[in-house]
Amino acid sequence: MSVLVFAENSEGRFKKAAFEGVAFASAIAGGSVTAVVMGNMDATQVAELGKFGASKVLHYSDASFNAMDAGVFAQVISDAASKVGAQWVIVSNTYTGKAVAPRVAVRLNAAFAPGIIALPEGNTVKRSVFSNKGFADFSLNQSVKVVSLTPNSYSFAEGSGTATVESCSFSPAGNRVTVKEVKKAAGKVPLTEAEVVVSGGRGLKGPENWHLIENLADTLNAATACSKPVSDVHWRPHSEHVGQTGITIKPNLYIACGISGAIQHLAGVSSSKVIVAINTDKEAPFFKAADYGVVGDVFDVLPRLNEAIKAFKNS
């Protein structure tokens, strides 16, 4: 089966989600796949995709593809999909992927499923719906199928394959979006792709106490997140707000500190693999959604947890 995967890079480096997408695509294909890479990138880096199951990479290396324009990216990806006669097109469900994938699906007359969380079974794919309060199996009823994969959904390993890189060019049609200014967020690890997330709620009492969250996040190489009221009062930037009206995340480990566990908050985090809740109130709703609970004061527990993890990492 012919499968095409769009491997996203950020400033010339692949994200983990790109490797995950290639490995996932290769599992669907039952063998090697073709990957699309856009924008400036070092050729040896591009060839890295071979280790995850790509035998061929179509590199559209024009510098104008460094900035994301969904309409333009969709034209390039569908051009590549037509070239290889792809029956499945795989995109990561990142901000870029979310903007691009529906347009690719329209261009290819394809059936589309956003944010799937497991390998397809035949024509059926699984994704979470109703803000993580349920799952749905969707059947994709077109001969071409486009899916975006939720990061951290598929476990994969690095292999030893190699990919040939073909340099491609493409002149997009239509009106374009131009990037004027980039404002990078403070956190080092992007929240949507983080494997570990440390999150704080109103129980932290104020922004001056966030070093407790940040120190633990540093030790764990984790991203930081927060509840809605915390970003509403600007203790933390809005980009950290998780939940039904914020970002949905799916890390391996979510540590909720001083967060009550309201249904709207859980909607954004409940598909985390493992949840630890720390709360002074043993009746806090978060304990119903958590795997491990600590009934205690964050001011007391967080420094101790941080020390315990440091000790573990050094052992």
């Binding site: 969904a70 491990y292 527990v301």
Partner: protein
């Protein structure tokens, strides 16, 4: 500007989600339907943009049955000028996008708003599909927008930050939190909404590309294991040996 805002109705955020016994549909008994929160932001921002320039119209469009009309009236009460309802059950995102694109194709809108995603099916797909069908540029998950002349300056969320982009009208944007505070209808708005035009149009075609085979409730959690707050070594050991996440 002539602005179109796409509005979907979704279960209220506090809804406890359950499925019918055949697991084919959502149990709607007792569920209250609201305007998708991101669409309230789109409506509000569209009104604000036109208020700044002192002209233009805001049209809202919904693909849905007659049961969506109370929410359409609410959108009119917020200040939209007129409404269109495409009379069909919205059972597939492409179908929805195609209905809206069909309508918009002949109307020459300067700007189209959708929400970042619906809070029910969470697809985040209708906006991009409409843009592609109409061959328009689109900017997803936007947190600020100004338009001067025919140039839009738009701030969007990207992985690991935000970015300001420029794009010429006509274009489509998807509203994200932070774009504005949703407007609450006042008494006068509610009164005038009753007489504002609401046009009902029959759906055109039935091209459905996906279908829900089955819903599932999330697997119940095994139950929380409590750890002594004075014994964080035990938590670390459980996370390492039992949960295998460290």
């Amino acid at each position: 500007m002539k602005i179109l805002v796409c509005v979907s109705q979704v279960p209220d955020t506090t809804t406890k989600i359950t499925f019918t016994p055949d697991n084919k549909s959502l149990n709607t008994a007792g569920v209250q339907f609201i305007i998708n929160p991101y669409d309230e932001l789109g409506i509000t921002k569209a009104l604000e943009l036109n208020e700044q320039t002192g002209g233009g119209t805001v049209t809202v469009i919904t693909v849905g049955g007659a049961d969506t009309e109370p929410n359409i009236r609410k959108a009119l009460a917020m200040g939209a000028d007129d409404a269109v309802r495409i009379d069909a059950e919205p059972t597939d995102a492409f179908f929805v996008a195609q209905q809206i694109a069909n309508y918009a194709a002949s109307q020459n809108f300067d700007l189209i708003f959708t929400g970042r995603e619906s809070i029910d099916y969470n697809g985040g797909q209708v906006g991009g599909m409409i843009a592609e069908l109409l061959n328009l540029p689109h900017v997803n998950v936007i947190t600020a927008i100004t338009v001067s002349g025919n140039t839009g300056s738009v701030e969007r969320d990207i992985d690991g930050g935000r970015e300001v982009v420029e794009v010429a009208t006509p274009f489509l944007v998807s509203a994200q939190k932070d774009l504005c505070e949703p407007r609450i209808p006042n008494m006068r708005g509610i009164m005038t909404a009753r007489t504002k035009p609401l046009q009902v149009i029959a759906a055109n075609g039935s091209d459905k590309r996906t279908e829900v085979a089955q819903f599932q409730a999330p697997a119940p959690k095994a139950g929380v294991k409590f750890i002594d707050p004075n014994n964080m070594d035990e938590l670390v050991s459980l996370l390492h040996n039992e949960a295998k996440v460290l």
